[in-house]
Amino acid sequence: MRLQATGNLKKLISGYYGDLKKSAESGKPIAWVNVGIPCEIFYAMDIFPFYTENYGAMLGARKEAVKYSKFAEADGISKHTCSYLRSTYGSLISKEGPLGKLPEPTVLVETSNSCVTVLSWWRLIEKATHASCFLFDSPMVEYESTGSHLAYQISETRRMIRFLEAETGKKFDLNRLKKVVKISNEGKRLWRQTMELRTNHPSPLTGADLFTHMFPMVALRGTEQYLEHLKMLYRETKERIKSGEYPVAEEKHRFLWDNLPIWHDLRLFDELAKKGINFVTDTYTQAWGDKFMGEVALDNPIKGLAYYTGGGFLNVHIKKRFSVLLDIIGRYDVDGVVFHADRSCKSYSLIQVQLADQLRQKGIPSVIIEADHNDTRDYNRDSIIERIETLAEMGER
């Protein structure tokens, strides 16, 4: 009962990396960007956006992150730092990886809206590549970007466009951006609708499904292939409900996953599904949902993109994080929360004990498991399964 969209996803991913190589060969500008940067602007300017986190996740999923991290560690980078940083930087300086030597960036564009570690990561890339670098400055907000903060985010978006024009020679065209944003909006709508289908009992998708299919949401927003893929995913998910063919037919527990997945062990979700535990929602893919990356008004797309850059999931304070958590627990009828304390994502993980305490006060059970999204060393799968099973047993009692 495999989703056809999963087969299509492989084509999308290989197409994306194929386009990266083609861009390098043809001289099309390549921007190395990090995940908080709005890719719509890059597609509208005909600049290829290469998402380093996405590349890192690929290394993780292929269980190759440690191999490349070791190059970074040999260069003096501590094992304690983010494994996205280590694995991608290691691949860069070793000139090795699934794609071979990574294509050189024309420019580097980073944003501070996810974590402070990004700033260090990009300094290392900047030193290794000598490419011009732009920092999209995004101070934290309580709930959302408004007032002077939004004005600042708009000015940063415009400053970024000026930088891209100057460094790549590509001209920005507002009408072209509107066309890209229109496609991006349609895809976002489909993504939201697909996520909503997970409220069904049983859920038509597993945790692994959405983590896998978030790739186009991260890297391809505004492209035709992104839209086609999301249409396919939505259609197939709906068909599953109609036909009653569910991935976890005997869904005894509807759990929520908080944080990045463990990319090197997405099969963990399959293992737990055998025991009737399905992850019907998560906070990570919600970061590309309507609360943090909703549709953008076409009459002023720069303002809309700036709004979501400023109010990104990791750029807001705990009160919003908690309110979103409560909201999705209710909407998806969640009966247990698994907090993945991800050693490689401090900005996501370090408030989880507090969030778990607050959930406990509301009678919502949770468990904290510790792992690393990319680094397979020190990974204790048995202990993690045991802890999640214990959470399930608590619910049964």
Binding site: S112, V116, S120, R123, D137, S155, H317, K346, Q354
Partner: protein, 375 residues
Amino acid sequence: MIKESEALNEFRTIRKNLPEYLKKIDKPVMGYFETYVPEEIIYAAGMHPLRISPNDRQIAVGGSKIESFACSVSINFLDQLLNGTLSFLKGVIFSRYCDSLRAIADIWQENSGDSFYHFIPYPTILTVESINFLSGELKKLVNHISGYFNIKIDEEMLTEAIRISNKKRLAVLKFYDLIKKGKIVINSADFFSIISLATIMDSSEYTQKLEQLMQQTELTDDRSIENSIKVAISGIMLESTQFFEIVDKTGMRMVTDDLMFGSRAFKELVIKTKEGPYHAISKRYLSKIPCSTKGNIDLRIDELIKDCKEAGVKGVIFYLVTFCDSEECEFPILRKRLQAEGIPVIGLEGGYRVSSEGQFLTRLEAFAEQIGEEL
């Protein structure tokens, strides 16, 4: 002889009995954790700005409220907030300094009850727009303090606070300069004690004592530790007297530093601008020699190299607090740059306090021997 200096003994006593000193402060005390929070605003509010430093107590409650891979300095801060050590504060002010401290801010916001809490959304870059944005945020901070404590803070009070802080900065910079030039010879532990107190003590009192100390020591002809090996110490929150004592034991002597609460906290003054004090303060804090958490590595390293050359430093000791991602990434870059300049560097890693004195001592002795031979 500097050891007999009355002012130095006073600094030593305050550092050793910090809780006693803090108890005697006769103003409401506002806490902050890193040197991007403008102390001028707290002074203007008639309060005492206190930079919270890690204490020596064993971590208790704080350790159970946050994952173990947060840096130990942050865990210590959280512990102090939650266990009541900091209950004498009227409130705390945070900014987004690093990912660990940002989490402490969030956790404390949820546990602080009715006490004053403020988070400054802080820009990372220096542009006209970022200065204007921060100016606006600092006005919001002032309005929050004014409303919460029912006090008036006007531009005149801010200007006076700027004057006091600038006077302190000038005194501290003079102190560094005298040490660099060898006109003051002081061991590392005393140097650390004096500098760390600049953001803990009352500014006017501190400036007065430091000026008094500099007057006395400029007159001394004692040079008993003059032959020790000159080093610089780099890092962020290295706040352990014990560590500096170890450095002294090895025959090395800190003559300049690159610490968050050290030279980096004082190098720029608030310069009057036509846009007013908020703009001037914002410009100063965004122009600071940046910590590694702010991304501009080269500026920090350039400054460290310049200081090393001016002070005739023979080596750099870099102290890394485990789980500080920013420093963990910056150190390899810093090491390469220093080595290219012919400046030997040793990297040490540990927590907020020294837990393995023997190990540090052995490594530092070896480093002292290495750089001593190169003299």
